[in-house]
Amino acid sequence: MEKEVKILAIESSCDETAAAVVVNGRRVLSNVINTQIAIHTEYGGVVPEIASRKHIENINPVVIKALSDANLTFDDIDAIAVTYGPGLIGALLVGVAEAKALAWALDKPLVGVHHIEGHISANYIENPDLEPPFASLVVSGGHTHLVMVEEYGKYSIIGRTRDDAAGEAFDKVARAVGLGYPGGPKIDKLAREGNPDAIKFPVAKVSDSVYDFSFSGLKSAVLNYLNQAEMKGEEVNRADLVASFQKSVVDALVGHAMSLVDEKGLKKFAIAGGVASNSALREAMSKACEERGVKFYRPSPGLCTDNAVMIGSAAYYEYLAGTRHSWDLNAQANLQLGEKVEGVKR
């Protein structure tokens, strides 16, 4: 039997302090998440300095709990993994410094992980049959990427947003209609009571790339609609409004994704990221895949939002490929997908 590789993974790129132990990239022994949503809600969005301050207070208790939930000690761990980008720089630095110090003091390998690769890898956890190659759509508050996963650890970006991320558009529209932060889940819920065909909101096409996205025009259209209604003194049906907005986003995401699937004749498609927990997107994507005989993968909602399990999964394949990062590994706020800080190959 092949040796089990147990990875202790740490994630602190935004407003969740998380740690997990994952075996062979697929089996979860523990999954600890300390979320700061309640704190940032008071400010209407994530405040980077406050997030960093919470991370430094929470990091050790979260790591300790990840080990104890797994019934393990540090001696049982084969490698320490950490998200080193992209994300909020101050937030990332806490996890990176902690992970490096742990790995150094324990004489264990250090594996830095790309946050988006982590999101995609969340699909490996509940789908033992999923292996590359496959296409994936990563949608969150900070990212909207259409990606080909060629093989483990090898990603190419097919399309991306030119302006706002899909999740960012959700947050901004939610704020405009007074739903507050975080916008995604609140719009999802309210949209169920509304008519998605009530208002036609166009989604801009990006002229020079069929796979790129643009959501800022859509967001502006929604804001204009609200302003005009207010000037005319008309009551806005918020449920219809957000349902129509959501439908436009979902149509664009599904449309682009299925163009890629059709063009390449793909058989597997996976969604990932916080917005992947949106029920309308899941339903539409599932239906579109089914129509084409494409197998559709999505993480359960708890694995869509930021967590360390997905980092432990992605790290395993990096670990197998021999990636070992050195003690000067730095956090990279704007790390691009497919871009890597080369580790030392050992």
Binding site: E49, A97, A105, N330
Partner: protein, 243 residues
């Protein structure tokens, strides 16, 4: 007792290993690279160079603030990780107490100052007192605080005694003080530390840590946290808005 001490609260990165009677190693750099890139390689280097077993460390001491928010967190996360991995205790050392320890035993009043921007400095005032055992105890006259440079100078002038100024805001103080002197001709003397004594050093931090450990200030790595002396900008704006 063997202390590993970590200083990264401002631009200086400094690491030391202090045994009871011997400073086993110290590594200090003041360069543009971020602490995230320098701190752990420096630690690794001095352990290798001195063939020190990681597990031989008894306590991890770290500068707890004030200072650069990010710098403090990198140092503290590093200390937390090492202490947690090795099952050791930590001690958080007030940064300005560590800086004052560059002048252990001096008869002068010590006034360390760090640049806090927007006309402010982080400051405290200390003096040393000889104890019965022959050691010198650091006595806190003014706790660490965030203060306007002009308010600090008003205070020093009112007090009237000569003080030793050290820290990265020495230049700021000197400029302001000289301008004020031209106006007021106040009779106080500010003594400025020379460059070699003016910056944060992990050896001084470890020296201060020894005293704090004797006072029972050891703590679990989970409880260690920065002492920023300043709320985040978002918190400040919110507090102002609600006034």
């Amino acid at each position: 007792m063997r202390i590993l001490s970590i200083e990264s609260s401002a631009t200086t990165a400094s690491i030391a290993i202090l045994d009871d009677d011997v400073l086993r190693a110290e590594y200090t750099i003041n360069y543009k690279k971020t602490h995230s890139q320098t701190l752990l390689p420096m630690i690794d280097e001095i352990f290798k160079m001195t063939e020190t077993e990681k597990d031989s460390i008894d306590v991890v001491a770290v500068s707890e603030g004030p200072g650069s928010f990010t710098g403090l967190r990198i140092g503290i996360a590093t200390a937390k990780g090492i202490a947690l991995a090795l099952g050791k205790k930590t001690v958080g050392v007030p940064t300005l107490e560590a800086l004052a320890s560059n002048y252990y035993g001096t008869e002068l009043k010590i006034c360390p100052i760090m640049d806090a921007r927007r006309e402010h400095v982080y400051n405290a005032v200390y003096h040393y007192e000889k104890a019965a055992n022959g050691h010198y105890n650091l006595i806190v006259d003014k706790e660490q605080r965030l203060i306007l440079i002009d308010d600090l100078l008003d205070e020093l002038e009112a007090d009237g005694s000569s003080v030793l100024i050290l820290g990265d805001a020495s230049g700021l103080i000197r400029d302001k003080f000289e301008k004020r002197q031209a106006d007021k001709a106040k009779e106080i003397e500010l003594i400025y530390a020379p460059a070699a004594m003016n910056s944060l050093k992990a050896s001084s931090l470890a020296l201060r840590a020894q005293a704090l450990i004797d006072e029972g200030k050891l703590m679990d790595s989970s409880d260690l946290k920065p002492d920023y002396l300043r709320p985040s900008q978002a918190e400040r704006e919110r507090a102002n808005a609600s006034l």
